[in-house]
Symmetry: C2
Amino acid sequence: MQIICNKSDLLNSINIALRAVSTKTTLPILECVVIDATNGMIKLISNDQELGIETIVKGTIVEPGAIAIEAKLFADIIRKFPDSDVTFTSDENFMTLIQCEKSKFNLMGRSHEDFPMLPKVEMNQSIKISDYSLKEVIRQTIFSVSDNESNKIMTGELFEISGDTFKVVSLDGHRISIRKIQLHDSYDNIRVIVPGKTLNEIAKILSGEMDKIVNIYFTDKHILFSFDDTTVLSRLIEGEYYKIEQMLSANYETKVTVNNKELLNCIDRASLMIKDVDKNPIILNFENENLELKTNSTVGSMKEDLDIIKSGKDILIGFNPKFLMDALRVIDDETVDIYLFNPKAPCFIKDKDETYIYLILPINFNVA
Amino acid sequence: MQIICNKSDLLNSINIALRAVSTKTTLPILECVVIDATNGMIKLISNDQELGIETIVKGTIVEPGAIAIEAKLFADIIRKFPDSDVTFTSDENFMTLIQCEKSKFNLMGRSHEDFPMLPKVEMNQSIKISDYSLKEVIRQTIFSVSDNESNKIMTGELFEISGDTFKVVSLDGHRISIRKIQLHDSYDNIRVIVPGKTLNEIAKILSGEMDKIVNIYFTDKHILFSFDDTTVLSRLIEGEYYKIEQMLSANYETKVTVNNKELLNCIDRASLMIKDVDKNPIILNFENENLELKTNSTVGSMKEDLDIIKSGKDILIGFNPKFLMDALRVIDDETVDIYLFNPKAPCFIKDKDETYIYLILPINFNVA
């Protein structure tokens, strides 16, 4: 085969394909990317057997063919080339010549037939969402996905479509993050669990542009994202997701409105004093129009006051500062509403329309 | 004691002082910075027993005194404060209150008397050099300092002043880097070995501004850098530096002129193919008006041609690509001159006036 591509086009595509290349694997073929120029276009294909990516590169096919080549090395070579045309040639023995201006690399490729090709999936059920919204909703929920593989379902996010509402949920046993997005069109109900790893990689590939559309296709076992010249295919996590509705109580004894940025910075400072969060959580004392935030550890102690608007009872409650910060950081509103029940019940940070709900469990502490 | 400083002034000074704070030490007091407000000004002092820093912070002394406080935690607290005045108060039991707007931190300090104060040094012999030149000359030589502590002298750089010439030399057994700077004034002869670690830290503190002056003071055992409101004191390395003059031969069989950037990029690409540099060095074949650069390993092979201007014999010679790149990267000239003798003798990259000389030993290889 022989193809000619522009260096920067090729580099963009390889960088996308690299997201599904295995780095720790006992199967060397999974460290490869397939360059497939058999069907009138040039495709890069990668597959770590959880996630698969196909992306089309602009270029000229001089002689059709396909080959597998070590992905990271290939990417490094292209990256270091001058900004010019790259000619890629391989023969029937998989000897590969990559040439740019006066620079010539010879590498040993492998047969693309040894590479696990992506399964063909039925593209029946699908939704459309903007690139921006998808990238945002992942950022706003991915932090509370569990990384504990012993509970597989917690390592994924629930994608739930009903009518024109797209709901995304993640939880890790200490907190729940929920985001709702209004879609342009209405769809049949869908409820699947998407691996957190897939969403992390997708978020890195998405450009975040408002006016670009991503098509998401669903099958029993797979989810497929299609945008620009790229297709990302992932397995779904099998099983039933948690029934979160019963954890979301509308009751509260205390409602507090506070400046988001001020609260975030204050908790960030307080977290400097915390060595062991279970022994020394951050303590929030909501009293009248004042929030006193304090923490106490072997390192030292910290105290800070914030102005709040409060309705309902005073309350003293302890939290892991990281969990509060993770939620506050992804809320764009200038002020946030916090709903509290008692020092042992979860707090809710949510807006009026419940486009976001962040539930966080408190930590018990000894009143000093 | 009580002092009041602006947050950003305080942060700048702590960031400087942090450069001489021990991170791995069995003496907890060395993880501290001393805040000394006993002599009408506010000084931050740090000392890891190799390197010592004193820097003055602008601010108001409400009540004189001194205290030692954990440096990293102190810096983190100041960094996370809003941009406002910081009030620092400590009592006779070393209880310390750090306050900024509504935020209050309580930390346990330590007696400044437990801290190893910097030795007083005689400030007799000194030179003046611009901040820019000092920062540059360190960058242009520091990479060939050895990190092998078993040969202490190689871990330092030679600072040699004779008349108005300031010469800096580093070597690691495989290469020598030499830079010469013309000073504004003339001085008595000085020849000392400065620890590479000291120079790395100094380079990070220096601003690199052309019109700022650094005073360097020399004693038998110490070197002291004085600039802005900061003083950096370091031990010297004891012993005799290598006599490098006898390694610098003016004889050559081949002189080559080549575009610096092109050569650098070409070697950078070639280095992708190298797994074990002693078995597979980069091979340079200087032939007529052409340099063929090639390398060959289990990964694959690479070949590239460059235009050169050559006088003298053709030559085939192997190198560690990193050593060539380290030197080429810090040369600002558009073209460089390379002087070669034979495939077993070092090459020299130097300019006509010898303001820089980079000597690099070749690597033997089997001609394939």
